[in-house]
């Protein structure tokens, strides 16, 4: 399996997140500057599936999402925890093709 369509471009919310389910995998999708970024929806700091409900933006130029529960920051590029905890979320390849949003959940890269 490679890239799978999860939704259309219109479902994305600019500078915010939504979640999609691919098999048993929950993916959080962020739409920033016309690019889509896919990461795991599970927040390892809180144990809850809440990442898509976090505020995204950047810290020192690196795109990130702040988990809404305890405000842990994770990089949208590497998945790494940005405030010094030994935690990370998976990062999935994602792209927009025409009007389709595609994610490859098998090719997760997990920094740790």
């Amino acid at each position: 399996m490679a890239f799978i369509k999860v939704c259309t471009k219109d479902d994305l919310i600019p500078d915010a997140g939504i979640a999609a389910k691919v098999g048993d995998v929950q993916v959080a999708l962020f739409y920033i500057d016309d690019e889509v970024y896919a990461v795991g929806n599970h927040d390892p700091a809180s144990g809850a599936n809440v990442i898509f409900r976090g505020i995204c933006g950047d810290l020192h130029g690196e795109l990130m999402v702040a988990s809404p529960l305890y405000k842990d920051h994770y990089s949208l590029i590497t998945g790494k925890h940005m405030d010094g905890k030994d935690l990370a979320i998976p990062v999935y390849p994602a792209k927009i093709e025409g009007n389709d949003v595609l994610v490859d959940v098998e090719a997760a890269s997990q920094a740790a």
Binding site: I13, A20, I55, L69
Partner: protein, 852 residues
């Protein structure tokens, strides 16, 4: 560490006795000493300096100097309501009234003083009172209820404080002074004359050069005072405030050396005639002087603690300079205010229209300050005191020190830079300029930090301006720009962003970022800007370009709980709810298996709502007439109220109606942080309004308004803002107050912290809100009116707008719920609570779905 701990017994738990214990703790001496404290009064040490504030709303707890649990926490044995009655100096044992016996190695007498009552015939009559302890105050309060008139005998510091207390209690108040002027020790004739005029303007009658000879039955009032000049004065209450006498009866009993007119004789080490016993505070007679102020007492405590630390320390007398606010009049007195020093010169500045009097006394060569008198404006006190204490050289024209600094004139004759590091800035806690510098070197970056670390400004508060100046100066010197940037994306404070957005009419985050910021924004600046948009444009959180700015609570209009579910809180204005609505809440909670609890804001919370169910839940609630409680937003939460005159037999006014009106008036108003309000129908204060951001309490003549109270982590008692307001004025003040707070506070700064960090404090806010000193009140009211006029219920919008409604789902590509959100039925309550990780592993957790 030594083999056995030595024992210190402290006899007396007043301000100085407690300060001594505090200093022992801070010096780490509890490692070497076991400490026993005996106090006569039933409660631990409290602030006698601010005693009169008891009548303007402060409670005994507010006045307490001992945090709850302080003695226990430090392993100090404290026996309150149990005075020491005898001491065996040979065996070194103290005996208490309740029969305790404690052996000591060292003993500290801190027995304080008692009020002096002059030997006037009739001074033991039932209405003759003194002013020293909280019990005295309770007695005065009780008597005042059956009295119309009160006379304070004694026009000194304490006497005028006492007069304020009587005036606050609503009595016709007189002050009778033996000397020809008020505050004869500290003030000269001109200064005292101005003080008298100001006090008389407030309706207090002042009688000087009056020698009371007899107190007897009155004709119109219960008592009559007869003076040596034959005049008479009828009164109900006679309050003596004619000085103090050291509490030396115990010392006398055990044979310590006393002074000819009382007081325990101490040397420069503060040792009594027994080398194992020290005496400190108002019971001690040092070099022929009893110090009736708290700062010298604290200095004595410090000297003894230093000795225990092995540091050579002596007490060689103390400065008796004072600054205080007497009945709203600023008064300061420094050093030799009467110019008694040979060759001294005097400069006087007298401003009759503005009622200001300033005098300085300088040395013959005009190089040193010897004394000063300030009445009506004591803002120069801190600087003058430093010049005096540090014997600093005066400017070429010493009168520049008291002449007004009008435009064009040099404004910095003796700024914080000029002070030596040894200069004592805060006399209450003995904080020097060097201590403040150290605190800044150790990382303090604000006045609040410095206060927390050094305790400066936290006693009488007289040094606040000076400490603030030093902090700002030192930070500037270090090149520290006092940074207030909200985050790395905007070089502006929240207040500055507010004004930028408003003045430039910016309507989107992208526009703001492009014009004034950099990067993509973050979880700090985005919600702050969203809140500002809501304040200025009343913009809805779910507008397409605003969604990404919202904290999850604002985005999904619920409070996110630890498991990813939300709580649902409908508005229950004033905590009043009909049976029909209660039933609906029950039905909804039952249908969606929600966990129900009544929270601290008199509302019902339904926990465990899943994202997908939120619109349906709210649809049912809205249909039953509920509206959003905005519990998820940084906005008005709840207006707590008692039942008031509707039901309560003590209620003075209808607190329920007032609470409901307030709740509807300010619901949905976005703010830097949440806002809580309370309304009590009488002074019993069942709604705890004084712990709220805005508190309203009914009086016989209207409503009293309190602001900037706080419960939570750092409780703060609210400040009385205005009294006896009619409803219209009350709303007007609250409109202005809230909008001023919203425009000027930092993000996540509650009103209490905002006020603490606001230069000028509560007086400044009063000036802005009541006197419109900034000329912005019209604008503040207009903005509030706009917010009110454009109010929309968040949930009504969300439920009835299909585009918004479809966003309340867990997954964009599936109608499934989050499979990891599972529950366990709680045994105690029979309701579903989130499963723990262990329960999930064991497989005993269940998914919960709405019942049909």
């Amino acid at each position: 560490m030594s083999a056995r701990k030595q024992t210190i017994v402290v006899v007396g738990n007043g301000m100085v006795g407690h300060n001594f214990v505090e200093k022992l703790v801070d010096a780490g001496l509890l490692e070497h000493y076991e400490v026993h404290v005996f106090g006569e009064e039933p409660r631990p040490a409290y602030d006698r300096v601010y005693l009169s504030s008891y009548f303007s709303g402060k409670t005994a707890e507010d006045l307490s100097l001992v945090p709850p649990g302080y003695y226990e926490e430090h392993g100090i044995h404290a026996y309150l309501g149990d005075p020491v009655v005898d001491i065996n100096r040979r065996k070194k044992i103290v005996y208490s009234a309740k029969g305790r016996e404690v052996h000591y190695d060292k003993l500290v007498m801190a027995t304080g003083s008692v009020p002096f009552v002059p030997p006037i015939e009739g001074n033991d009559r039932e209405d003759c009172l003194v002013y020293r302890t909280i019990e005295d105050l309770e007695m005065i309060e009780a008597k005042a209820k059956v009295s119309k008139t009160g006379v304070v005998v004694g026009g000194g510091l304490l006497g005028l404080e006492a007069a304020k207390a009587l005036a606050d209690l609503g009595l016709e108040t007189h002050v009778v002074e033996f000397a020809p002027r008020l505050m004869p020790v500290q003030l000269d004739d001109a200064g005292a004359g101005l003080l008298r005029r100001k006090i008389e303007k407030m309706g207090v009658f002042v009688h000087v050069s009056k020698n009371t000879q007899l107190i007897t039955d009155g004709e119109k009032r219960r008592n009559k005072m007869v003076f040596a000049d034959g005049q008479e004065l009828e009164t109900d209450i006679v309050l003596f405030s004619t000085g103090i006498r050291p509490r030396d009866d115990l010392a006398k009993k055990i044979g310590l050396k006393l002074g000819p007119r009382g007081g325990i004789v101490v040397d420069d080490m503060l040792l009594t005639s027994d080398p194992s016993i020290w005496a400190i505070g108002e019971c001690a007679l040092h070099d022929g002087t009893i110090y009736g102020l708290v700062a010298p007492g604290y200095a004595m405590a410090q000297a003894v603690v230093h000795q225990l630390q092995g540091i050579t320390a002596t007490f060689t007398g103390a400065d008796m300079s004072t600054k205080l606010k007497l009945m709203g009049v600023d008064v300061g007195s420094i050093g030799d205010p009467h110019g008694m020093t040979p060759g001294a010169h005097t400069y006087v500045y007298q401003n009759e229209p503005e009622e200001i009097y300033k005098k300085i006394v300088v040395s013959e060569d005009k190089k040193k300050l010897l004394g000063a008198v300030l009445v009506g404006d004591a803002s120069d006190y801190g600087n003058l005191l430093q010049l005096y204490l540090n014997e600093m050289e005066l400017p070429e024209h010493p009168d520049d020190l008291i002449l007004p600094q009008r435009s064009g004139s040099s404004s910095n004759l003796f700024g914080p830079a000029a002070l030596p590091e040894t200069a004592q800035v805060c006399s209450c806690y003995d904080v020097s300029k060097g201590d403040i510098i150290k605190a800044i070197d150790d990382g303090a970056t604000t006045l609040a930090d410095v206060k927390a670390v050094t305790q400066a400004c936290t006693g009488c508060g007289g040094c606040t301006q000076l400490v603030s100046d030093i902090v700002n100066y030192e930070l500037e010197q270090r090149g520290v720009e006092v940074k207030k940037d909200i985050c790395e994306h905007f070089p502006y404070s929240r207040q500055e962003l507010f004004h930028i957005i408003k003045v430039e009419g910016i309507k989107t985050f992208d526009e703001l970022l492009a014009k004034k910021g950099q990067g993509h924004g973050c979880d700090i600046c985005k919600p702050a800007v969203a809140s500002i948009f809501a304040d200025i444009y009343n913009s809805f959180a779910m507008e397409e370009d605003k969604i990404g700015l919202q904290d999850t609570n604002d985005r999904f209009l619920g409070n996110l709980q630890k498991d990813g579910t939300y709580s649902v809180i409908p508005r229950v204005p004033g905590g009043v709810i009909t049976p029909e609505k209660l039933i609906v809440i029950g039905q909804v909670a039952k249908k969606y298996n929600l966990y129900t609890k009544i929270n601290g804001g008199q509302r019902i919370v339904m926990f465990g709502a899943q994202l997908n169910d939120l619109p349906a839940i709210w649809e049912e609630l809205l249909a039953a007439g509920f509206e959003s409680g905005q519990a998820y937003a940084k906005s008005l939460r709840t207006v707590k109220s008692c039942v008031g005159s509707t039901w309560c037999r003590y209620g003075v006014d209808d607190s329920i109606s007032m609470a409901i009106k307030l709740e509807h008036r300010y619901k949905g108003l976005r703010a830097p942080h949440k806002i809580k309000m309370g309304v009590s129908g009488c002074t019993r204060e069942c709604a705890e309004a004084q712990a709220k951001d805005v508190g309203v309490i009914a009086t016989e003549n209207g409503w009293n308004l309190y602001v900037c109270g706080n419960g939570g982590m750092k409780p703060r008692h609210a400040d009385l803002f205005a009294t006896d307001l009619d409803e219209e004025t009350l709303f007007k003040y609250i409109d202005r107050f809230l909008m001023f707070y919203i425009q000027t506070a930092d993000r996540l700064q509650r009103t209490a912290r905002w006020l603490e960090n606001l230069e000028g404090g509560i007086d400044y806010v009063k000036d802005v809100v009541i006197n419109d000193s900034l000329g912005i009140c019209d604008e503040l009211e207009r903005q509030m009116q706009f917010i009110r006029d454009t109010y929309k219920d968040d949930w009504y919008e969300a439920v009835h707008n299909p585009e918004v409604r479809e966003k309340f789902r867990m997954f964009v590509n599936s109608d499934e719920r989050d499979p990891d959100v599972v529950f366990v039925k709680e045994e105690l309550t029979g309701m579903y609570r989130p499963a723990t990780p262990e329960e999930k592993l064991k497989g005993i957790a269940v998914e919960v779905r709405p019942n049909a």
